[in-house]
């Protein structure tokens, strides 16, 4: 019987099978007797292989606790201290409002007229502030200051272009530093200051005390109307903004700040006033594929009749 069965099976094996057949192994390194499999496995020392790519932040809290306990690690102390350094204010107080259409010859306009009246009111305040600055800094002169400010302005930009972070700190306050460096990482910037169209002038000045009465900061706004050249290249040297051959007229209101009560305080760039009437920015040369809008979640059909009723009745019963 057994031989006949075997022959039958043997014949079956030779029949070509149509369709997909999973590849079967004819030779195998497995031991013919599985009896000793467990014993062979015991020859290997048990090891917990580490997962080097494990993301700790994804793990649940209990798991992290368990892992730290295994290794005898103490939980990190929460760091509550927040270092801060007061040598600059966090913003511009009583910011200068640039007259509309400044830099272009259009003096006759309703808003412009209103602004000139307001300007006269504010001028007295500026005078007071300048007097206060003079009490701390005797050499301060609102006629001489703009040329000094322009020097700081040019040097700040040059140190940004050269990637000189240490020098940039001398010309820029802590508030303006990140704003200056924003988006300049891994880029090559070519910047040139050509000339002034109008001589720079002081348009605004303010003083404020912070925390105590003696701790005084001075802010002076200077108007620059200049011609500049700017070209920004990305990491691969391709032009992404501006041009190497085009010069542009630039009208800027730059706020300079000094910690007056500090003996070693210096005038540094603090902020730039951007008026609302400023023409819109030039679009970026970098084009990218517009991401597809996220599909709005479909409102779920209101099919919760029996269950909610039950719940409500339960709540009522509990009450």
């Amino acid at each position: 019987m057994s031989t006949s069965f075997l022959t039958k099976v043997g014949v079956l094996r030779l029949i070509p099978v149509s369709g997909y057949v999973q590849a079967s192994r004819t030779t195998t390194s497995k031991h013919f007797n599985p009896k000793f499999k467990k014993l062979r496995a015991q020859k290997y020392m048990k090891l917990d292989l580490p997962n080097f790519n494990e993301d700790i932040n994804q793990l649940p809290k209990e798991k992290i606790r368990q892992k730290m306990k295994e290794r005898g690690l103490l939980p990190p102390r929460p760091w509550v201290e927040r270092p801060f350094y007061i040598s600059a204010t966090g913003g511009v107080f009583e910011a200068y409002v640039p007259p509309e259409g400044d830099g272009k010859a259009s003096i006759v306009s309703a808003t412009r007229a209103k602004q000139t009246v307001q300007l006269l009111e504010k001028k007295s305040k500026s005078m007071l502030a300048i007097r206060k600055i003079k009490s701390f800094e005797e050499e301060f002169d609102s006629k001489q200051f703009p040329s000094f400010a322009q020097d700081v302005y040019v040097k700040a930009h040059e140190s940004l272009v050269n990637g000189d972070k240490m020098a940039l700190r001398q010309y820029v306050t802590e508030k303006a530093y990140p704003e200056f460096r924003h988006n300049s990482h891994m880029k090559t910037i070519h910047w040139k200051f050509l000339d002034s169209l109008e001589p720079p002038r002081v348009v605004h000045a303010r003083c404020t005390d912070i925390i105590s009465k003696d701790n005084i900061f001075g802010q002076v706004t200077v108007r620059f109307h200049t011609r500049q050249q700017l070209a920004v290249y990305d990491r691969f040297g391709r032009l992404i903004h501006g041009s190497e051959i085009l010069a542009k007229d630039v009208l800027e209101y730059v706020v300079f700040e000094k910690h007056l009560s500090n003996l070693y305080g210096v005038w540094r760039i603090h902020d730039k006033i951007i008026p609302d009437w400023m023409p819109p920015k030039e679009p970026s040369r970098l084009t990218r594929v517009k991401p597809e809008p996220e599909p709005e979640p479909e409102p779920e059909p209101e099919t919760v009749p029996a269950i909610t009723d039950n719940k409500e009745s339960q709540v009522i019963a509990d009450k």
């Binding site: 020859k43 020392m45 292989l49 990491r235």
Partner: protein
């Protein structure tokens, strides 16, 4: 007296190891052993291009470290993908029935995303695999018992995978094999045959 002394010693033995934290010291300040050089290529800044110069093509380097897989097995997959467009590579890898194919596929997709987000590549399909290779990772050594009180070493190996995507379309002949068409082969053969010297002939 002896008994008391013994007690003291045993109490010391019990207390000391409990109070001392020894593992934390070892874990702190350990140096990273991950490969660093390959990613440095992402930081090179090229000089600005002149007007009219051909646009320089972007590239991005990416690595996946310490994959629990054999370096040698991963190498075949790394070779397969070389010189393909990203879309083609992803398609091929998703039909490759190997554990390592998933790691390579993920790495390529991650690199593609990096290229678009950080390296000013406009179209994510306009990338090809310029470099793809493997590297040795950490090796953890285990012990296996042999007969007659002997030991054997077991190496649990990890490996790294490195990939560089470049903008543009892949070259026609990535491996520079200079494949000839049948007619060219025939021409070459004919030339060779005509050039041969038959000894003792006119």
């Amino acid at each position: 007296m002896n008994k008391v002394f013994n007690l003291l010693i045993s109490s010391i033995k019990c207390q000391v190891p409990k109070k001392l934290h020894t593992s934390a010291f070892l874990l702190a300040w350990t140096k990273s052993r991950l490969p660093k050089r390959f990613l440095e290529h992402n930081k090179t800044i090229f000089p600005p291009q002149q007007i009219g110069e051909e646009r320089r093509l972007a590239y991005v380097c990416h690595q996946v470290t310490n994959i629990k897989y054999s370096l040698d097995k991963l190498w075949y997959i790394a070779c397969l993908v070389r010189g393909m467009t990203v879309d083609e590579a992803v398609k091929q890898l998703s039909f490759l029935n190997k554990k390592g194919a998933a790691y390579v596929k993920d790495a390529i997709l991650e690199a593609q995303e990096l290229a678009v987000k950080q390296h000013n590549v406009e179209f994510k399909s306009n990338l090809w695999i310029a470099q793809s290779f493997t590297g040795h990772g950490r090796v953890i050594k285990g012990v296996r018992r042999h007969a007659r009180g002997r030991m054997g070493e077991v190496r649990y190996q990890y490996c790294h995978y490195f990939v560089r995507l470049e903008e543009g379309s892949p070259p026609k002949d990535y491996y520079k094999r200079n494949l000839l068409t049948p007619s060219q082969q025939l021409d070459n053969w004919m030339e060779q045959m005509r050039k041969r010297k038959i000894t003792n002939s006119i």
